[in-house]
């Protein structure tokens, strides 16, 4: 699924959304949401390949195994939060979009907390 198809879908979706926006804006948001979902689904296979690559590379590491899972989860949370925030911005609901982004940040901090703790412990252990 190369970039040309994605760009074509995006352009067609954009034109359709603008065309419908005049009569009823709700359907314009629906069209842009459908295009967003479509492009995100087309991005899944290359993303899966990248994640498998990351897992493979870090497989040879001795200690940092569980950190890769956290990194992948953080990417996932950011990915979905950005998707929701952009759709809400499209619909004109800036406040909801910022709330979604805030929630994404908080959840990412929640997932990343163990790493920060273990990092601090290792630093403390190094300091004599």
């Amino acid at each position: 699924m190369d970039i040309f198809q994605i760009v074509a879908i995006g352009i067609v979706g954009g034109i359709l959304a603008v065309m419908i926006k005049k009569e009823n804006p709700t359907f314009a948001v629906m069209v842009s949401l459908a295009v967003a979902v479509l492009i995100f689904i087309f991005l899944m296979p290359p993303l899966a390949g990248l994640i498998a690559l990351i897992a493979n590379i870090t497989g040879h590491l001795s200690s940092g195994q569980e950190y890769v899972l956290v990194v992948v989860q953080i990417i996932g949370i950011a990915y979905v939060a950005e998707f929701g925030a952009q759709i809400c911005n499209d619909a004109g609901e800036g406040s909801i979009a910022s709330k979604i982004e805030l929630a994404g940040k908080v959840l990412i901090m929640g997932v990343a907390a163990p790493i920060i703790i273990s990092l601090v412990e290792q630093v403390v252990a190094i300091i004599p």
Binding site: M19, N24, F27, L33, A34, V35, V72, G76
Partner: protein
């Protein structure tokens, strides 16, 4: 899930817009809002099923 879904949604949007014009011309404004509501609900059902597919794939992929 491919481009035809986008075209279907656009078609429903245009159809509802045209129906609104016709119904408003015939003086039946309440039925115009009804058709908009109906079109919206149909499109919502399509979109929600695709969004749940997407979120399911994302959940498996990122082990969330």
């Amino acid at each position: 899930m491919d481009i035809t879904v986008v075209f279907q949604i656009a078609a429903v949007g245009i159809l509802v817009a045209v129906l609104n014009q016709v119904l408003k011309g015939a003086g039946r404004d309440d039925q115009a809002t009804m058709t908009t509501l109906a079109g919206l609900i149909v499109v919502l059902f399509w979109i929600i099923s695709h969004i749940s597919d997407l979120f399911g794939t994302v959940q498996n992929l990122f082990q969330l």
